[in-house]
Every structure is written in structure tokens, then in C-alpha cells.
Symmetry: C2
């Protein structure tokens, strides 16, 4: 999968990310990966659900992966949960 | 699966839910389902990750399901995302 087909979800309004996902599919992507860490995980799930329920026909959830990433902060290393939701055409 | 084997994640500190998951397995559960809606979804992922990485040997993520639920509020119906993370012994 092309790296461009990844949408990183952060703190912006959810519709920004929904639009990004739709745009990727409209540009011919077969798969789009939605990724987020920490508190943005909820918004990543919202992004996938809204995209699938309201905008994308013939696209399905292919896989959902959660993991733990180690992040460097000013006060040392810390663990943060992450999620990847893989949507696929067809 | 027994309904008692479900941990509903809300707004309490994450370790409360981790402890609940561990207790279920220690009481002999083969499967424990971690469920959350809306902003608590991030904490549900944290609960699963911390439980698996720090406390539970021989338990794996069996399945992760996301969905959209319709909720009645004072101002009418609204959609909310939900997640279910199924952990399984063995």
C-alpha cells in the first residue's frame, strides 16, 4: 500500500478526516489506512464509521489493529496506545 | 460468552478497568469483552493494551469490532461510535 493512502487523525474536527478518506478513495486508492494515537483514537473510529455509513459505498472495514507505541517526551519515554483501521474497496 | 465477562469502559481511571479485566480472567473467564462508546473508546484501547502488555500472559486479542449506535438524547437521536475488544485466553 502506498504511504499516501494513510490518514493520520489528530485533534481537528472529524469531518476533516472523513473528507481526507473520501478523497483518497475518489483518487483511486484501493485501501485507505486510518491511524491515530492516544485520545485521537476515538476520533479515528468516528472517522471510519462516518465514512462508511454516510459516504462510501462498496468499501468495508478490512482490519483493525491496536498496538502500543513508545514515545519520547521531555520527561522520558512513555507508552501510548495506537489504532489502525484499514478500509478497503470492494 | 457470559454477560458477566464484559467490562464497560467509561470515565474512570484506566487502571480500574484493567483490574476488572484481570479479575475476570483470574476468576476463570476464557474470554473477556471490553466495550466503550464515544470518547471512552481511547481508554478501552488503553485498557486492552495495558492488560495484555503488563499483566496477562497467554491472553491475546481475538477480535476488534467497531460500530455505530443510535442513542436517544434530550435533543433527539444521535449517533455514537462504539468499540468491542475481545480478549481470549490461550
Amino acid at each position: 500500500m502506498n504511504k499516501d493512502n494513510t490518514v493520520f487523525v489528530g485533534n481537528k474536527p472529524v469531518m476533516n478526516y472523513v473528507l481526507a478518506v473520501i478523497t483518497q478513495f475518489n483518487n483511486g486508492a484501493e485501501e485507505v489506512s486510518i491511524k491515530a494515537r492516544g485520545k485521537a483514537i476515538s476520533r479515528a473510529v468516528d472517522t471510519a464509521e462516518i465514512s462508511l455509513n454516510k459516504f462510501l459505498d462498496n468499501v468495508t472495514k478490512q482490519e483493525i489493529i491496536t498496538s502500543t507505541e513508545v514515545i519520547d517526551t521531555e520527561s522520558g519515554q512513555t507508552n501510548v496506545s495506537s489504532i489502525e483501521i484499514l478500509l478497503r474497496q470492494g
